[in-house]
């Protein structure tokens, strides 16, 4: 209890920046000692402002997928890496496969091949199992139970027993989709959002921005449910019934001052929101609020 009280006192007391230096007048040592308590010049991040933490290793990837064990990234050369990796290996090779997009859940990872087919790998070493007969799929998303939703010729469809079937929003022309708790979200070519509700309707979702990418999670009790990227490369998070614009990721590089970067893709698992920047760097969202 005493520690908890001390902690409660320490936290707000240190939540501002102190710029005082010690008074080293030897004639007043008590003053010097009193002032020395301030010499930490503590600069503490604002506890009311979320931030992005970059994955270690400064890896540059072409695509990311949020999975329960972290994040997967397509790095090219037929390699898919995962983060966090093991000791001294922040990005570890997860599996070898040529893919343009991927997604994953507890049970498997799903890949979109260059010719537009969706394949499934039960684990990193398993042989790929084709889920669609032909190509033509531009984008896909999976639910936590493994249901596959695709965009074929720009229209949303659902994969049922190897066949693509129409959904309530099939008539909308879309460029991205994501499976959330409320249903499957579509990002239309106009940059608006729509959701295929579990009741079978296709409803528009109001957004204060023009979207360029979306991500969602359908796991109940998770931290996040829906996120998007706008056409200014800023990420947005939907929580408590409204959209919050998130601060941009900041890249820290030796020799350069911290630099704001733009988000081009978001990926979401039950507990984590990930972002890929325009330079391929991967960030995890951290919200201390």
């Amino acid at each position: 209890m005493a520690l908890a009280q001390a902690q409660a006192v320490l936290a707000p007391a240190a939540s501002f920046t102190v710029h005082k230096t010690a008074d080293m007048n030897p004639g007043r040592p008590w003053l010097a000692i009193g002032a020395l308590g301030l010499v930490a010049a503590c600069s503490i991040a604002d506890p009311h402002r979320p931030q992005w933490l970059e994955a270690h290793g400064h890896n540059s990837v072409r695509w990311i997928a949020a999975v329960p064990f972290g994040v997967l990234g397509i790095v090219g050369g037929g390699k898919i890496q995962r983060y966090p990796g093991g000791w001294n290996t922040p990005w570890e090779e997860h599996t070898a496969a040529e893919a343009t997009q991927l997604a994953g859940n507890e049970k498997a990872i799903f890949l979109l091949t260059a010719d537009g087919a969706v394949v499934r790998k039960a684990d990193a070493h398993a042989n790929p199992e084709p889920l669609t007969n032909g190509g033509g799929i531009a984008r896909f998303a999976i639910s936590s139970t493994g249901d596959v939703h695709v965009l074929a010729q720009g229209h949303a469809q659902r994969l049922v027993e190897g066949r693509l079937v129409d959904t309530p929003c099939t008539s909308r022309e879309a460029k991205a989709l994501a499976v959330g708790g409320e249903g499957t979200y579509l990002l239309t070519t106009a940059g608006t959002l729509a959701v295929e509700t579990t009741a079978g309707a296709c409803q528009d979702v109001a957004t204060p921005f023009v979207a360029s990418d979306i991500a969602a999670s359908d796991v109940a009790g998770g931290n996040y449910s829906l996120a998007a990227v706008d056409n200014r490369q800023r990420a947005w998070l939907f929580q408590a019934g409204h959209w919050d614009e998130l601060p941009p990721p900041i890249a820290y590089r030796a020799g350069n001052f911290p630099r704001v970067t733009g988000v081009v893709q978001v990926a979401m698992s039950a507990l984590t929101l990930w972002a890929r920047t325009n330079e391929g760097w991967v960030f995890a969202f951290s919200d201390p609020r």
Partner: protein
Amino acid sequence: MSPDDDRDNASPAPAAPVPPAATAAPTPPRRRWPPWEDIFAFAWRPIAVYTLAWIAAVVVVWEIIHAGILYDFVTSPDSRDVRVAQEVARVTLLRMLPVGIAGALFCAWRVLRRVVRGDAVKTPACLWLAVAGIAVPFLYLPGVEYQNIYLVGAMVVCLGVAVAYVLRDGLLARPHGGWRHWDLSRRRAWWLTLAAWLTFALVMGFLAHWRFITFHAEPYDCSWETNAVWGITHHGLPSISIGADPFYRHKHLPAVYFDAHAPFAYYLYAPFYALIPDSRTLLWLQALWMGAGAVGAYLIGRTWFRREWAGVVLAWVYAFNPGIQGHCLHDIHANVLAIPTVVLAAGLMEARQVRAAVAVAFLAAIIREETALFSACLGLFWMFSRRDRTRVRAGALVVGWSLLVLLLITKVLMPGFGGQPRWTHFSLFFRGVGIGSVIGSFLLNPWGAVMSATQSNKADFFWMAFVPVGFLVVWGTRAGWFALAALALLVASGNQSFFTQGMNYSAPIGIAATMMAFMGARAWLMARRNRSAVELDANRMTILGYLFVVALAGNLLYGNILSKTYQFEYGEVPYRRTSQYDYRWRLGSVATLPPYGQRERDLWDVIRRVPKDVPIATSWSINPQLSSRDVAVILPYMAETNPADNHPRYVVVDKLPPMTEAPEKSWLRFRGDPAWRVFYENRAGVIFERR
């Protein structure tokens, strides 16, 4: 250029020639110029320095304006791409240059006028500060101190030399000034030394505390060492459960720790920990103990330099040492405590407190299994310092005790518990594994040892350790005994963690750098041409001024007290939560401390609800906060192969961003397992209870 040269310069220029005798009506004497050779001889040096200073001032202003391109400007001078990219900025510099040239011409005109008039011309020493100041904007760039280690070290030394030169020049200009007799009273000196200690303890204790409450402490080794002290207070012996996987898979938990380490220092922590059984107690005690070396440094300084203020300077130099500070943030370790303990023992001996010095040296020997090596070095230093018989006797006693302790711990105690010193950390052996094989390698293959010591990671490490003491280590060979342990433990290792300042493995360099630098400053003072008492006093202030400046700069770059960044996390990536600046994937520094927000409060709420005195399993990031108990293993290990009463009854999982490990898979696993139910959950964490 030396100050002596300047004094020569300061002598008057050649006297104006005597006017010819008047023969007719008196006419004003016609002014004649001195010979051009004399003008040149007396004017070239001040004009050159003024010119350099003006150009440097212009460059500094330009560097500040164009800080964004400064890194490439300095580090890629031969890159055509960089030149092309910086074309506009470089043209700007060229356009600014006339301002500097105009300033230089104005100063040159004034110098020439004085020379022609026959007035004394002296080059202001402070101009060299402007010249050395070119380095300052670069040093403030983020991360350069780890990216460009050698360049930054050279810059720090240049700054220190410039300040020392100005200081010495100023002092010698006032040979009868009050500075010669100025000193602190003993009482004030003690206050300022205690201030150094307190500063160190408060800042480092606070930062360690902050790491802990924001979940940046690591199981390796915050949990390990907290387990050990918990074991001492509850079972009388240091014990472990965190290491169950992979070290104690078939033992009953908590297992006795003596097979891996012998941290007897923790018995001194135990009474305090018994009062407040929490890792934070240990973090604050560690900061306090580590700072105590400032007292030893003060005692050494006031004796070796015969001034109270000199002792205070050394106390602050110790407090500003980044490596020693860093040990307070690499979680909790016993071996690092040997640094302040040995320095304190050395100081007590200088203060002629022989019994206390020997007692503290004895304590240093039993801190952990390898610290007897450090105390043995201290004993050798005393034995061979040839001051008096008392020192020889004390030194022999300490060496004997240290060898006895070393043998008992490594040959009796640790093997008795089924272990041995971790030779897996070392790679430089002559034949077989052991201390004899390491010594054999040094003696029989010395060039091989040199080869090993100069590998890039080791050379970087030694360089970085010597920057905050201004490389005075090089002159401190009389204290070279302290380097023996560093040689044996550091050069012989191939593990990068040994060569990262602040990591506990790097502790041997802390003692060697501190003691050899102090001795180096002393030797440098003795070696100077102290032709008079004034020069001796000026040189004393100069050398210690240099040491203080480089210590400040070292702290600014690599330390934590009023520094550029906080050296916040140690360990191999990704076993760190922050990700800003990085050194060799072992040290993570941050410009801003992580926040303590509602999420952290919620997670602490979860932690406080975990039932006491029952075996638990935790996710990685919150194990240190739950390590004050008998059994707290780390997921996914569930103590399956340990006895049944060790099996966790509760599982605690955080929901922090997965920078170290992803807790989500554990969260999904237990929420879907019918053998477990949610005991408590909020947005930051969850407790599962076995049904």
